[in-house]
Amino acid sequence: MSLSYLTPEFKVLRDYDKCINCKVCMRQCSFEVHSYDEDLDKMVSNDMNCVNCQRCVLLCPTQALTIIKHPQTFKEHANWTYDAIRDIYRQAETGGVLLSSMGNDRPYPVYWDKMVINASQVTNPSIDPLREPMELRVYLGRKPDRIEIDENLNVKTKMPPQLKLETPIMFSAMSYGSISYNAHAALARAAEELGILYNTGEGGLHKDFRKYGKNTIVQVASGRFGVDREYLNTAAAIEIKIGQGAKPGIGGHLPGEKVSEDISATRMIPSGSDAISPAPHHDIYSIEDLAQLIYSLKEATDYQKPVGVKIAAVNNVAAIASGIARAGADYIAIDGFRGGTGAAPKRIRDNVGIPIEFAIAAVDARLRSEGIRHTVSLVAAGSIRNSADIVKAIALGADAVYIATAALIALGCHMCQKCHTGKCNWGIATQDPNLVKRLNPEIGYKRLVNLVQAWSHEIKEMLGGMGINDIESLKGNRLMLRGIGMTQKELDILGILAAGE
């Protein structure tokens, strides 16, 4: 084999004064960075393999390990950056498409961080959520224009099915296959405990998790994995996945080696076979085809389940969303370009799609101008990092948000972006039974519950500050936002004023 031009990306610093040769690091590293050298009677490291997932750092009983960015550099060049050069080395070696995982990591502006939130002073009392009622419950689904009641106050309106969320947060789609059984177990149980929903992703629903049906959204994607009558009827809602923020326009590919017996049964495909999700649904080449699928799924579930549609945020998102609303979707989930993934071509991940902040503002404005915003629910996804992002998303026009990367981080993800290798040391993005064990669902679900509860508390505090005691009154309330450091055009698209205006 000829010389590789790649140098290590990270460096393992081992403090030998502290290292006790206990080999915990060695046993924990699925990338085989650490080993014990008998001749030297020392632990040694192969920096080349290190992905900086920090599993060893955290498990080392004496804190002997530190991982740093490798100091090795190229001659400084503002154009030919470290990544630009290395990507070429990698592709010259392999001849392949560069794969990566999680969300877009390029330094695009984060518009959440250019928006600030209002609070009441004098003319309007702020509300203390610890003393006053503060409501976060939302219902997702199609809403009729008006209620009709008879003289005895019986509701005559036929209500479309609604999803009740005790807080406007859901766990976004992550398939069994892209993440582990234990990760799904933690998400499902947390969703039940929190009174919210998690999403199976496109990989089917494991039979063990059918019991969480009322807290489950099942996906129907282009591969149609695991879709049968029971799958659809077990769930609280069905989501047609058209696209994903991390890789708009791209399908999916779960390699055969990851299709274990269990995954094979769940996806309803032969074990060991590649699971291919085509880029488009081959029965949806146009909006009217989508309407057909929506109504097929509604028929199949006797019009008892909301059917949502998830799309990636792309240039024409507002018009597409309008079409989806008119095609009969009960909710529309929009996934921004910073959304995560278990595997995506790096160039797609980093260059395709638009920020969720613009997408949600544009879609909300478009649906309002058409007078149909109140009939359909909007879910914002694609890098919601904290409770303030949620408040901003809802003020821009979302009814609720999806979180996935944040949920995985709560479960231990360290954003090493190596999901596609299947070697996740934290037991999340892996099917290796040795690694899956590392995510204890008992611990995981509590961490997820803690995270969502903590965020809910913070949302209540922010609402109280604004003088609002119900999340409903934040929806589309863009007067509660001001922009900092944006162009007038950006402010106009977001539909907000500049700070000081």
């Binding site: 206990c22 915990v24 046993r27 955290l58 498990l59 040795n434 064990k437």
Partner: protein, 149 residues
């Protein structure tokens, strides 16, 4: 009585239980010092069984009718009538290994350096077994009456 139970399905095989078992029974009660300063660090009192992906730590079950206590030729091995904990008095132990032979679980380890039997004492001095306290994945549980699945 309270015993240590293992949730095999979430044991990650890191062997930190062993590290902390040794530390807990060392002179300094400190990981670094136990490993760096003690010329002869204590023998671990637990056995780690490993056949990937299965792994778990095994420690004395403190049997009601403990064969090791019955078979001990010097009376070193005794079961505390109050707490139920089975301990080995190393002053009395002569290293005949009869206990090792009769233990149905293989939970008694030979401390070859000191030629005495080494076994889990539930970290009697510390209150809570060190292995349980330091298990990073809550795979070890110290409880009355086992674990519910």
């Amino acid at each position: 009585m309270k015993k240590v139970y293992v949730k095999e399905e979430v044991c990650v095989g890191c062997r930190l239980c062993e590290v902390y078992c040794i530390t807990s029974h060392s002179k300094y009660k400190d990981v670094l010092k136990a490993y760096k300063l003690e010329p002869q660090r204590p023998t671990p009192r637990i056995v780690i069984e490993e056949n990937r992906p299965v792994s778990f730590s095994l420690q004395c079950r403190h049997c009601d009718d403990a064969p090791c206590v019955k078979s001990c030729i010097t009376g070193a091995m005794r079961k505390d009538p109050l707490t139920g904990v089975v301990t080995c008095d190393t002053d009395k132990c002569v290293g005949c290994w009869t206990c090792v032979l009769v233990c149905e679980f293989g939970a008694i380890i030979r401390d070859v350096n000191n030629k005495v039997a080494s076994k889990c004492d539930l970290c009697a001095e510390a209150g809570e077994p060190a292995c349980v306290k330091n298990c990073p994945n809550e795979a070890l549980v110290y409880s009355e009456g086992g674990i519910s699945v």
